[in-house]
């Protein structure tokens, strides 16, 4: 979602060690837009949505900003707001217009296309602010920007939190 202050809440709690964390102080993230953008999508090889492995390989916690799927996320993690990495919290609405990142899953050594659908219609969740800014561009590249509110096409423009949904395996370049 929007660009913002990296782990602001944490920062408030521990205002020491400021120099060490400056690098990550404010980062925004990149990706590509699914939907109305004129810019073409990244090539996507659709993985099989049914009959997949019973235990797909993923490592780490989906409430950590370092989680592999969040390589291009920016906003409050829905997994800290009553949702999960790929579902919205109760009573919110998932935005159909999203931005996209390509993230490397270290567990199976593949690159996946991740859709960062925002959940909308309630106030800012406020928990687990996470920002990883690789590939972000200013809003003149709407397909690659996170400086804007992506609660577009939803009944409410109020941003609540962001998900990270696996929508396919990225083609090798």
């Amino acid at each position: 979602m929007m660009a913002l202050i990296d782990r602001l809440l944490e920062k408030r709690a521990r205002s020491a060690a400021q120099h060490a964390s400056r690098r990550g102080l404010l980062k925004t993230l990149g990706g590509a837009l699914v939907g109305a953008s004129a810019v073409p999508l990244l090539p996507v090889a659709r993985a099989d949505g049914h009959g997949g492995p019973a235990h797909p390989q993923e490592q780490g916690s989906d409430t950590d900003c370092d989680y592999w799927r969040y390589c291009a996320i920016d906003g409050f993690l829905c997994s800290c707001c009553g949702g999960s990495a790929n579902t919205c919290p109760p009573g919110t609405e998932m935005s159909p217009v999203t931005w996209i990142g390509t993230c490397h899953n270290p567990a199976d050594n593949r690159n996946y296309v991740i859709s960062y659908n925002d959940c909308c219609g309630k106030p800012s969740c406020g928990a687990c602010l996470c920002q990883r800014d690789e590939g972000d561009r200013p809003p003149y590249r709407p397909d690659k920007t996170n400086d804007i509110n992506w609660c577009l096409g939803t009944s409410s423009a109020s941003y609540h939190c962001s998900t990270a949904v696996v929508v396919g395996v990225a083609f090798e370049e």
Binding site: A47, Q59, N86, P90, P123, C125, V169
Partner: protein, 390 residues
């Protein structure tokens, strides 16, 4: 660090082997548009934390928190907004939450709308709205006695203060207003039988109003004067066990009032404090509660007794009483400080306390008094009031 490096090496080894042998199938494509749901009835470990957002009053909200978990991701179950110092009430028989809030068409300006918003427990989504006329609903620090249901949970009684006082009655089946009952000089709605409510009056009496099946006033009556609101004030928020409401008093007494479906009847008061405890007094916002074992809880301030203006400062300990025996059965020393608390359901009640120093909430064991965990970082600004999930 060494362990982590070793683990990584092992994992890389495994992955390398797997990749060499046979690549695992890729992660499946996941559906979009999935919205989580909650149970119709919330577990006893869940609490509702009201962040009135004093510095951003037009963005008040209630967080639904599972206090039995260790991480924010597991603790936060959802939230719903409660705008501009609103009030809410859980109605478990309906699987709904009643929220009274106020909006302006342009945020902090424009036309004003007071509404009853009805949320369902399972979806935390709006299922109905009833507009409340007159710009009169009670608007202030979060209260536990501003709303209650009557008539087998068919009606919602909403306390108004503008500053004249009344009670608006809403039919929760038809989602429409039934009646408005004036309560001049008396405030709040206390349960007192299914077709009766009581209010506490500035002149030190209790008002009791009996309604008929249509929600019309059938009769009203007053108790005797039992306190002096200038000199011996009680708090407006009682701990409640069965039909008995235990109002703490500023001076460290507890004032029982029998609410037995007839006129509210004040009983003899008794003291919460013993020898050597003369400086202690109840203090806080959500400063009392009760559990399913019939015990009552009070937030106690070690310096408040007799000190004018200390009654809302919060306290350092929670004291637990057997109200029948009029005996303290437990002291819960707080890690830091408490401003509000609520007691959970069940035979092993937990106590969730707002720590106003860092604006966290902290969980204690209601049987042993042991500190269990601190819960914070869930987005809260000023979590001024807590309710246990019903």
């Amino acid at each position: 660090m060494l362990r982590k490096s070793l683990l990584l090496a092992v994992l890389v080894g495994i992955c390398g082997q797997v990749a060499a042998a046979e690549p695992p199938p890729p992660l499946p494509v996941e559906p979009t548009g999935v919205i989580e749901t909650l149970p119709d009835r919330y577990p006893a470990e869940w609490f509702l934390v009201h962040d009135a957002a004093f510095f951003h009053m037009s963005d008040g909200k209630v967080y639904v928190i599972d206090t039995s978990k260790d991480t924010v991701g597991e603790q936060v179950q959802g939230m719903f907004p409660v705008n501009l110092m609103g009030s809410y009430l859980q109605v478990p028989s309906r699987g709904e939450i009643m929220s009274v809030e106020t909006f302006h068409t342009r945020g902090t300006r424009g036309d004003r709308f007071d509404v009853l918003t009805i949320w369902d427990n399972a979806n935390l989504a709006v299922v109905a709205e009833v507009q409340l006329p007159g710009s009169k609903r009670f608007m202030g620090m979060p209260q536990r006695v501003a709303l209650r249901t009557m008539n087998n949970d068919r009606w919602l009684a909403i306390f108004n203060l503008s500053p004249s006082t009344s009670v608006t009655l809403v039919d929760l089946e038809t989602r429409s207003i039934v009646n408005e009952i004036p309560t001049p000089g008396c405030s709040f709605v206390y349960g007192n039988g299914d077709m009766t409510f009581s209010s506490v009056c500035a002149d030190g009496r209790m008002l009791t109003v009996v309604l008929d099946e249509n929600g019309a006033e059938q009769s009203r009556g007053f108790s005797d004067v039992f306190f002096d609101s200038d000199d011996t004030p009680i708090f407006e928020r009682p701990a409640q066990v069965g039909d008995m409401a235990y109002f703490p008093a500023f001076d460290g007494r507890v004032q029982p009032v029998a609410m037995g479906a007839s006129a509210a009847m004040p009983m003899a008061s008794w003291s919460l404090i013993g020898e050597g405890e003369e400086s202690w007094a109840p203090s806080g916002i959500g400063l009392d509660g009760e559990d399913d074992l019939g015990r009552i809880y009070f937030l106690m301030n070690p310096e408040a007794n007799g000190v004018d203006g200390m009654h809302n400062a919060g306290g350092a300990e929670i004291w637990v009483y057997d109200p029948e025996a009029r005996r303290r059965v437990l002291r819960i020393p707080l890690q830091e400080w408490g401003l509000s608390f609520a007691v959970g359901r069940g035979e092993e009640p937990k106590v969730l306390v707002t720590n106003p120093v860092d604006m966290s909430v902290e969980l204690y064991d209601g049987l042993t008094g042991d500190f269990i965990r601190k819960i914070t970082g869930f987005g809260q600004e000023t979590p001024l009031m807590i309710m246990s999930a019903q």
